[in-house]
Every structure is written in C-alpha cells, then in structure tokens.
Amino acid sequence: MGTLTEEIFSYKLGRTVEQAETIVVDVDRVMSHDTTTPLAIQAFRKLTEHDGGRVFNPRRSHIVFDHIVPAATIAAATLQRDIRSFAQEQDISILQEGICHQVMPERGYVIPGDVIVGADSHTCTYGALGAFATGMGSTDIGVAYATGRTWFRVPRTINIRLVGTLPFGVYAKDVTFEMVRRVGVDGANYRAIEYSGALIEQMSVSERFTFCNMAIEMGGKVGLVAPDATTQAWLRGRTDREYPLLAPRNPRYERVIEIDASQLQPMIACPPDVNNVVPVGEVGHVKIDQVFLGTCTNGRLDDLAIAANIMRGKTIHPQTRMVVVPASREIYLEAMRLGYLEIFVQAGASVGTPGCGPCIGRHNGVLAPGERALTTMNRNFTGRMGDPTSEIYLGSPATVAATALTGYITDPRNVL
C-alpha cells in the first residue's frame, strides 16, 4: 500500500516501507558520466583501498561520455583518458553514443521497478519508465560502485494530475513550465513527484521523459509515471528482462496539483530561474543570437520532427544561428533517414555529435558576453552556456524552431 515510490521500495526490500524512514537498498544500476566519474573514482579508490577494489558488478555499472564529446580541451581529454583506463581495469564498457539519460533507457538498462542512481541530477528522467531513479554526487556514486547499495529517506510525494488535451501549438515542454511555475523551484525539494491523469496516459514515453526530466527543476528527488501498455510497448525489443507493473495503491500524497492542459499556451522560462515563466505572447520583442535544439529534455525524435516540420524548406534568420544536437546515435540515425537533419542543415543550422552539446557551456555553441539564447534545455541559470552576462530562455522545440526563422522569440502558432 502506498505511493509508487513506496511500492517500489517495498517490492525491493520485501517489506512495507514507511514515509520518512531511512532505508539501505541494493541498486540495479549505477551511472556516471565524463564530468562526474573522476571524483567518483577517487571516492571508490578510498573505499576499496584495503580490498580488491572491484566494482560491485561491471555489467550494472555504466559510464557514459556525453558532456564534452569529442573532448574539446586537453583537460577534458586527460580526464577521459583516465576514466577509460579505470573502465578497462574494471571491465566496464564506456558508452559514447549520446546523452546518458537517453542512452540508458534506449539500451534497455532501465525497467519498471528498478532502483537506479546516477551522478547527474537529471537521472530522474528514468522515472518515466516507472523506475526509482535519482541524481547524486560523485561520492555517493563511488559508494554505489563499490557496494552496490545506497541509502534513502523514503520521500513524501506530490501528485501532479494532468487532464485535458494539448491545444494547438502547445507541447509537453509547455506543460512542464506550468508545473514549475505552480510548484516553484524548490516546492518538491526532498519529495517524489508522481504524474498521473488522463493526459499522461495518452502521452508517449518521450513526452513522459520530458516531464520526469524536469522534476529536479522543482527540487524533486524523482519524477515517476506508473508503467502501462505504452511503457511495455516502448520496452519491447529493448529488454527481455521480466519486470513488475507496480502502481500506487491507496497512496497518501502530501499534495495534489491538477493541471488542465486545455487552458495552456506556449510558454517561455525567462532567465535566470526556471519558474520565471510567461506565455510566449507576453515576452515582448526579444532578439535571439542563438537557438539550441537538443538535450535530455527535448533532443528526441519527436522533438526533432516538430522542429523539422516548421523549418522544412526555410532558412534561419541571418542574425541568428542554430545548433541541433540529437540526444543519441539512435535518434541521429533515424533523424537522418527521415530527412530531418537535411532540413536543419539546409536551413543553416549546425548539427552536432549526440551528447549534451552546448547545454553546459563548454563547447559547440558557447555564448559571448551579452548574447541571448533560446533553447530546449531544462536550465536557464546565469552563465550556464558561456559568459555570465549572456542570457538563456527556455522553450519548446516548436518555439525554438519558430524563433530560428524570425530571429526573435516567436509564438509557434504564428508559423505552424
């Protein structure tokens, strides 16, 4: 009996867990990437210096190179060289085929009921498949690599119920902005978020990834969707492991928030906080120097399709530049077959190697002082994409594509 989080932990521990109880659990998967692995290795070494120094299970330990690929500086290349040597020593295969949060589910490493910890705050994305997945720092991840375990305080849960249908020009990303606006940037701190309602049931796994990805932007420990037929269909061919279809049973929610998507418009999160949300139509005439389509929030095939359909046969505004980075190799190849990449390149965009791209301001489209970007990212923090005086606005793939054509923040309904 309980929330989906409680159901997952009770299933894992073989007993009923209580809210606010501290538990130690075995983890199914541990993940870290090129930026967070070096400190995790340091923690791992300290912890295992007296025994053989082996990871708990190399097949369940995953290192993904996605933040700075291919390496842009000697410092990044050196850290990656050291990680490769650790991975070889530990018999871990490094994945370099896109963003960790896209590659892990694509590879079938995430199934409903799993407990997964990752050294990246957006690890909460995997909750879209009904796994309890959360971001941690490198030391916690080093501990999990060494012991195969971690500790949690069983969180309270906020239930976000989504009803209605998406109006013309409004997408999952716009709905997440409404959630962050309502909950605030720390309204879900230390809490789980469970998404439910008729709209969630109709949504694709990709759209569910967008919701769960941004649970952390409300402070959430995890964002969860109960697995259903859509989940099962998505997992078919990706995994042959058995999994339980856990669901909340008489859950005790701390708070229930209902959002009627039918009432929403395309939205923008203005710098420098994600809850600084306004309808696109109210943002005024904001000139944009660079648009960026990609990331673990919105770099999937359906996101690229939305943008490609708006940009087909057109060219981007001469005062604006565009960077497109598919979230994974699988998506890149499919977008190539479907002609989306050709549309972007013909329009004048740069198409980058699958990975995080310019989202963390290290390469592939860094911003100069005073420049402004509109992106499909999840964070608009000061200096995240480059100079601290540059500014980041966040929007849906449709708003980003529309803006690429006009050079200023544009309501996608005007070009659709």
């Binding site: 130690v24 923690a43 850290l79 050294a119 290290r362 000061t382």
Partner: protein
C-alpha cells in the same frame, strides 16, 4: 570567530562552480573560481573558518560535487541556510562539509558580521549583534555520517553501508 558571507535564495551549483571551470579534480583549482559569478571577491578574500550563509534552496541544480568541494577547499567552516537543495546537502555531508539549517540566524544576520558556530551542538552566536540561535537537529542517519567525517569514513568505520 568568523566572518559571514551572505548569499540569497536559489544559489545554484552553476554559479557556485561554473561548468567551464569544473573539468578537474584539483580542489585548489576549484577553490579559485568558487562563487565567481555572484561574489567575485570571495575566493580571494575568504579566510579559513569563515561561514557562508544563504537563503532557501542553496545548491540547487546540477549534482556536481565540485560545488561543495570548492567551498570546502576555500576553508569555509560551515554553511548555514534557510534550506538546502537535496543533492547538494547530501554531497556536503558525504565529503565532510558541515551544513546547518537555521532560518532565524540567516534572517537576523548580515554580510560581514562576526559569528561563532558550535558544530557539535548547532549553537550559533552572532557576535556582532549578540544574538544566539539554535540550528535544526540533523536526521539521525545523517548525524552518524557527519560524526564519522563523511560517508567514506562512515562506511570504513562500520565495515559496510547499513
């Protein structure tokens, strides 16, 4: 006695240590850029034993442990905030950077004032104003990690994670 460095709400890990400076595991290098976006003078002027105070949701955003590591490497004695973002809090506790929650102390203190903090009891004494405060008690499990000096030390002491 220590100086207070006062910060506002929602100080995120991108401003504590920007992504362009965290491609390293060298703590001293991280310390050089600590808080450079919001307090450019901080890394030059901070003294061993100083105290960082902040509003709500300190350390929100990325899970980068470089953020608490940079603050620790600056010699900061303790961070006192109205609230902490979950991952940052956990990271700080894990690496032995003391973190206390005390609304009243933050609301009644100002940048540059002098303060004493007893980490064992959570007693906070603002020497400039003469006011005394008591930080919120730690979760019992967190308290055990803090007492050991960090999660690695805790596990080495216990022999396992339990």
């Amino acid at each position: 006695m220590s100086r207070i460095w006062m910060l506002g709400d929602n100080v995120n890990t991108d401003v504590i240590i920007p992504g362009r400076y965290n491609v390293t595991t060298d703590r001293a290098q991280l310390a050089c850029y600590c808080l450079c976006e919001v307090l450019p003078e901080f890394s030059q002027q901070v003294q061993e034993g100083d105290v960082v105070m902040a509003g709500h949701n300190f350390g929100c955003g990325s899970s980068r442990e470089h953020a608490p590591a940079a603050i620790l490497a600056c010699g900061v004695h303790v961070i006192i905030a109205r609230s902490f973002a979950r991952i940052f809090y956990r990271n700080a506790v894990n690496i032995g950077l003391p973190v206390l929650v005390c609304e009243e102390a933050v609301l009644a203190s100002a940048d540059g004032q002098q303060i004493d903090v007893d980490l064992k009891t959570g007693a906070i004494h603002n020497r400039t104003t003469g006011q005394a405060f008591q930080a919120e008690p730690l979760d019992p499990f967190v308290e055990r990690i803090v007492a050991a000096g960090g999660i690695i030390e805790y596990i080495c002491q216990e022999g396992t994670l339990r």
